[in-house]
Symmetry: C2
Subunit: 183 residues, 2 copies
Amino acid sequence: MTVSKTTASKTTASKAIASKAIAPDLIRTMQSNGREPAADALQMGELSELLGYTLKRAQLKVFDDFIHCVEPLQLTPAQFSVLLLIDANPGRNQTEIANTLGILRPNFVAMLDSLESRELCVRMRSTNDRRSHVLVLTDKGRTILARAKKLIVSRHEARLNEVLGPENRAALLRMLDKLARDF
Amino acid sequence: MTVSKTTASKTTASKAIASKAIAPDLIRTMQSNGREPAADALQMGELSELLGYTLKRAQLKVFDDFIHCVEPLQLTPAQFSVLLLIDANPGRNQTEIANTLGILRPNFVAMLDSLESRELCVRMRSTNDRRSHVLVLTDKGRTILARAKKLIVSRHEARLNEVLGPENRAALLRMLDKLARDF
DNA sequence: GATTATTTGATATGTTTCATAACAATTATC
DNA sequence: GATAATTGTTATGAAACATATCAAATAATC
């Protein structure tokens, strides 16, 4: 280590410029334009060029919006994907659904418990293989799923189209899919 | 609920076709082409069109590759971003760095403890504001950061360019940045 | 056909990540 | 000088993610 143990940090108010007579945003402008480094925005450095960083940031934003759009149905992205996959793949068991979604079997148990307690789906012992549970949506589950799809299309994906434009949205999806597959 | 409590699930081997005389992949081909639904790949349904789902999948892949590429230095994406931001913003305190990265201050403490215990950075009491800690990279920290940047460029981002192509990679970054900001 | 190995769902458990409340020390505000 | 706000910290909890292990059921092997 070559660094000394104390340093001066310029925090918020620089000097004693601040006075009630001057508007707050004017003060900020003066500070930002002064010789002192702007107190607000930090340099992002090479972080802006790091795809992984921006990817994560975007993912959090998109998930937040998803949750908000589908809020009246109280479905997380993961729960929605489970319902969707059960519906699209009748006759499949827990392991198959979980694996396809990248969910580990032990963690899938509580997930299903929750959905089943809300009567959105049911586990049924398979007659062929009495070890496995075939997953089936209830009527309520199908209804919720249908409503969720509508909300996602009309709110969530619509907003994505607004921000990106339909062509860009499609291009983005293609590239992300390529990454998810071939990377 | 309108579903009965038992159902038949077709699992692996259909009928008694299996025999040692037939090659395993031939059997699989026969099964896939038969009337029975393919036992392997599940229908992804509308999931393939859900941007959030693909986004998450891609993000996990990219982070995995990041961790792998920078493995000799034992840096997580989060740790790397902290080192980078400290280096790019001398004189800033914990709260400022944490906020910029979207890390909550309480969670940032252990993070810094870890980096400091590895002697990659130091907290220094500010002389201006004795509440705050100014964060500074040690020489070791700067060295590790420089090595990490090299590994990321030569391995990680290089691979991204291979898979996507430079133009697509740039376009992807632009769109993700737009989402992270405006969404 | 009995023995061994594998698969399925489940439990227990641990780690990591993320979020909230509260506190002492310090500084800002009035 | 009393009160409020900020900084780093601790404690704590929830959620997401991962591993080992188990009983029941089935498949594979001898």
